[in-house]
Amino acid sequence: MILTIARKELRSFFAAPSTWLIFGILQFIFAWLFLSRLDAYLQLQTQLAQIANAPGATQSVASPLFGTLVLLLMLMLPLFTMRLLAEERRNQTLPLLLAAPVSSRAIVLGKYLSLLGFILLVVCSGTLMLATIGLGTQLDYGLLACNAIGLLLLAASYAALGLYLSALTRQPIVAAMSATALSLGLWLVDIGNADSTGHLRALSPTAHAQNLNAGLVLSSDLVYFAVFITTFLLLTIRRLDNNRLYA
């Protein structure tokens, strides 16, 4: 049942021209940044070569670009999460799901799974683009994979957050704006406290992705992401159940 819903959502994702447009723009911006970053690296390469233990291509090109991709996804993902439940409510299609023999859990997980499918596509295409450096030089594939996992977890967290906000309203735009605002807010919490080891910073998903960005897999970070995602999914399920009670 979860798969049925996920498949339908993915199909309507890719049936909409706007998806392709956003995906295309995302790829274009990313490619642009990638090339300019690579250019800068090539110019600095001679100087870097003189430093002992100089950072490699993966560390100086790929890792920062993953950081940029996070920001791009932070701005783009709400455009996809917004419609998932808010639009069902606005178009009054939610009764189809509520009256079908499908639990709220299956509805939410189905929708979330479709988001993950889309995110996986973005992350894979980004990672593949960066892996092309491997054609010219030696890449640290471990670091690359670690970065991709970090990006995946971050995007999955933002998707869960966006899905919950989409369940709260019947206006997709409201869902999108609040999702963007919240994810930017969480990001600001991170960069605002960058120099301190304050507890506030531990709230922000981007702070937890930083270790992964540097190639460090900490179980505390993984637990953080698991808790973050589960919490928002549970809240969404609860919201949908409450919908039957109070709507």
Binding site: T4, K8, N91, L98, A100
Partner: protein, 310 residues
Amino acid sequence: MTAPITLSARHLVRRYGPRNIIQDVSIELRQGEVLGLLGHNGAGKSTTLQMLTGALTPHSGTIEICGFDLNRQPEQAKACVGFLPETPPLYRDMRVDDYLVYAARLHRLPASRLAAALDDCKQRCGLQDCGKKIIATLSKGYQQRVGIAQAIIHRPTVIILDEPTVGLDPAQIRDIRGLIRELGTSHSVILSTHLLSEVEHICDRVEIMQNGRLIYGDSSTRMKQFGHQPGFTITLLTPPPLSELAAIAGVASVEAVSENLFRITHDLGQDPGATLLALAAERGWQASQLTPLKGSIEEVYTRIMESESA
């Protein structure tokens, strides 16, 4: 009636804030029955139907569908129900076929029966030529049909339709009523409406709802008789004096509507029509037309409403 009970709802209550919008509603439905839920806008029809489908949870009361408790075994119970909400729940960017297949899968129709069910329900709803069309491009009438198709594709035992004919043109209304009537022979159907003629045409039984309560329930033919004197009008081209008509056994009153037209009422079960026609033939009154008095359901409805609010 001995057909098995397919749906029974007992003492449903639904609150909205401090206000009870549904109070103590009990409904029972048997196989092969079409039940009309009649009421003004805002009487609580849609809320009741949504509760019966599990889209809303009642604050108290129990609902049993095909023997499954909707609260304890929601998935089994809901699998027996097809629901068309007030606004058909259509994904406008999908193709009709894809949409119907999705609806069928959501209702756990096994993949092996999918193709046959799709063809069958499209044929029943007159959608044979629309399978490849995008739902948004269909007219309102066809969208409504897709909505009904979605509710019946998994062959549910109970079909719940919320104002199925609203906004359709007369020809479409006739088609859809025909379809509902046909569905009513094999499934149980509940439909809500504020149109009395709809109840008259397609329902076996009617429940009238006002302010969240059921105020009257009976068979729709009995409802037609409620509150009106049985009788008929008859045209006699060479009429006898009124007294002669009044003397016929069973006639309660005679009234001359015009020179040739008479309105005759009688007591229940003593229809003097046959006697009158025989006499007319014997005495050369030239009877040309006999029409039973049609008690309009509107009158009944208004009368019940008035007696309730009085």
